[in-house]
């Protein structure tokens, strides 16, 4: 009897562990996001804990190949420049497996960062450990965290992928403004079309 009980317990443990590894619950507003230690195109590694005096973090999952991400490249770069001086650090992470999407290799990330003059760390989620914890599903996918890494906003950068000048609502910037003035962002989450993250097969 004892044997059966311990076997069952073991089975339950295996099932639970397997489940947790395969599908972590995506972050919701109010969750504390994990820090990471990822290498950037400049050869250095970056963590949020490196920025002791930051007021918050803009974590954007993006990549080289996705046309939606490409349309947002300049806007992401502008955001990084604009908010760095205000204490909000933008960290971009490429979550794709280059074995599935060759354009998203670390080498080509370096090329793209140089071409576009990226003013932010462009990090590589090597081994794809980070994006599943955030629950990122697509590129681009933005997360705004406060200085304690509490998730304040999840979703799109703004409401017009086609044209920056026709944007009506700058969701991400509005959320940063709300965070800055101690208010709750509205909306806290938005939806947008994007390219599925290319997971290892």
């Amino acid at each position: 009897m004892k044997k059966i009980a311990s076997l069952l317990l073991f089975a339950a443990f295996v099932v639970t562990t397997a489940f947790t590894i395969n599908a972590p619950t995506p972050y919701k507003i109010g969750d504390t996001a994990t820090d990471f230690k990822l290498k950037s195109v400049d050869g250095k590694t970056y963590s949020m804990s490196d920025y002791k005096s930051a007021k918050g973090f803009i974590v954007v999952f993006t990549c080289n190949h996705c046309p939606f991400a490409v349309k947002y490249e300049d806007r992401i770069n502008d955001l990084a420049k604009k908010y760095k001086s205000k204490g909000y650090i933008l960290l971009a992470i490429n979550p794709n497996d280059p074995a599935v999407q060759a354009e998203d290799s670390f080498e080509l990330m370096k090329v793209r960062a140089k071409e576009k003059g990226f003013a932010f760390p462009y990090l590589f989620d090597e081994g794809q450990k980070i994006y599943p914890q955030y629950g990122a599903t697509k590129t681009p996918h933005a997360f705004l965290l406060d200085k304690n890494r509490v998730v304040k906003y999840i979703g799109a950068i703004d409401d017009n992928v086609d044209s920056a000048k026709d944007v009506k609502e700058k969701y991400l910037e509005n959320a940063i403004a709300a965070l800055e003035s101690g208010k709750t962002p509205s909306p806290e989450t938005t939806k947008a079309i994007g390219c599925t993250i290319k997971a290892k097969k």
Binding site: H65, T137, K138, D159, D162, K191, I193, T196
Partner: protein, 158 residues
């Protein structure tokens, strides 16, 4: 004789135009009403775009489903950029000789329409929606084979 040639050319020309024309909707609710509202039809709606590599990869499975599974009608909802309609979408459809119904959706109010397809849809594509008698089954994934797709569809409509 001259007239025959003239009419033949005219005829071919008009067929050509017909083949290339697809409906464009700037509002999902309008698309739903126009294309997905017949209660006697079971729809398999695939959200895709020519720029989405996994979508393009699974497209032949949907074409095969449309041809072989007589219980369903496949509707391919393209989310291509509006300004690439003529430059990319139409040549793609012609080149691949797509037979399923294709519509272009340019609704950018994602916060409104994505949750009406499925409340948990993050917006990544490919994604597939089955509609039967107003009941919806949604999945955000790529189908690796026709068999997988056909089996998934049959298990959800029978």
């Amino acid at each position: 004789m001259k007239y025959y040639i003239f009419f033949a050319v005219m005829f071919l020309f008009s067929v050509q135009i017909q083949a290339q024309k697809i409906a464009v909707y700037d509002n999902y609710a309008a698309l739903e009403k126009a294309v997905l509202s017949d209660t006697n039809t079971t729809y398999v709606v695939n959200f895709w775009a020519t720029w989405c590599a996994p979508c393009v990869k699974e497209l032949p499975h949907f074409e095969q489903l449309n041809a072989e599974n007589k219980k369903v009608k496949v509707v391919l909802v393209s989310l291509d950029f509006k300004n690439q309609y003529e430059a990319k979408l139409l040549p793609f459809l012609k080149k691949k000789a797509i037979k399923s119904e294709v519509v272009l959706l340019t609704d950018k109010d994602y916060n409104t329409w994505l949750p009406t397809v499925d409340k948990d849809w993050s917006g990544s594509i490919p994604a597939t929606l089955i509609i039967k008698n107003g009941k919806k089954v949604f999945v955000e994934k790529m189908f690796a084979s026709y068999e997988e797709l056909n089996q998934y569809v049959n298990s959800n409509i029978n």
